[in-house]
Amino acid sequence: MDAVTYPNAKASKFLMENFVPLRIPYDEQPYMDSFKVRWTPRLFIMDPEGSTHHDAQGFLPPDEFVPFLKLGQAKIAFNANRLDAAVDILEDLLKESAASGSAPEAVYLNGVSQFKKTHDAVALKKVYLRLKFDYPHSSWTPRAYPYWHF
C-alpha cells in the first residue's frame, strides 16, 4: 500500500478529501484483538461514531482502493437509511469503476436502495439482470437470484 497505492495521486486525493485516515500498528492493543487483526494489509471503514461498515484484507491497487472507499461511504449511508446519498455514491462508483471488484456489490446495494426508496420491485429485477449479464461469476449474482421473477 505504501509503495503503490498511497502515493497514487487519485487515491491519496480521494482519501484526504473524503476520509479521516488513521494508521495503527497491527499489533497495538486493544485494537489487534477487538478488530481481530491477524494479517496485513487490513483495512476498515468506520463511521464517525466508530462503527465498522466495510473492510478489506490484502493489498488494494489504486483502481480497487478508490471504489473500495466509495463502497464504504455508500454502506455507511445505506445503514443510516440515507438512501439518496447511497444511490449517488454507488452510481458514481459504477460509472467510474465498473470493472472493479467492488462493482458487483455496488450493483446489488444500488438496486436495493432504489427499491427501498420507490418500493418498485422492478429495481430488484434490474439488479439480477445486470449482475447476471455484467458480472456472471460474482458471488453477488446468485444473491439476487430471488429477484429474477419480479
Partner: protein
C-alpha cells in the same frame, strides 16, 4: 503529483476529527516492520 496523506495515529483523535468533520474513517492496520 500525489496529495500527502496526513495520518492520524490515535483512535480517539481520529474519532474526534471524524465527528467534527462528519467524515468516515479509514483505519489501516500496518506492519511497521
Amino acid at each position: 503529483m500525489s496529495e500527502e496523506i496526513i495520518w492520524q495515529t490515535g483512535m480517539d483523535e481520529a474519532l474526534n476529527k471524524a465527528g467534527e468533520q462528519g467524515s468516515p474513517i479509514l483505519l489501516d492496520f500496518f506492519n511497521p516492520g
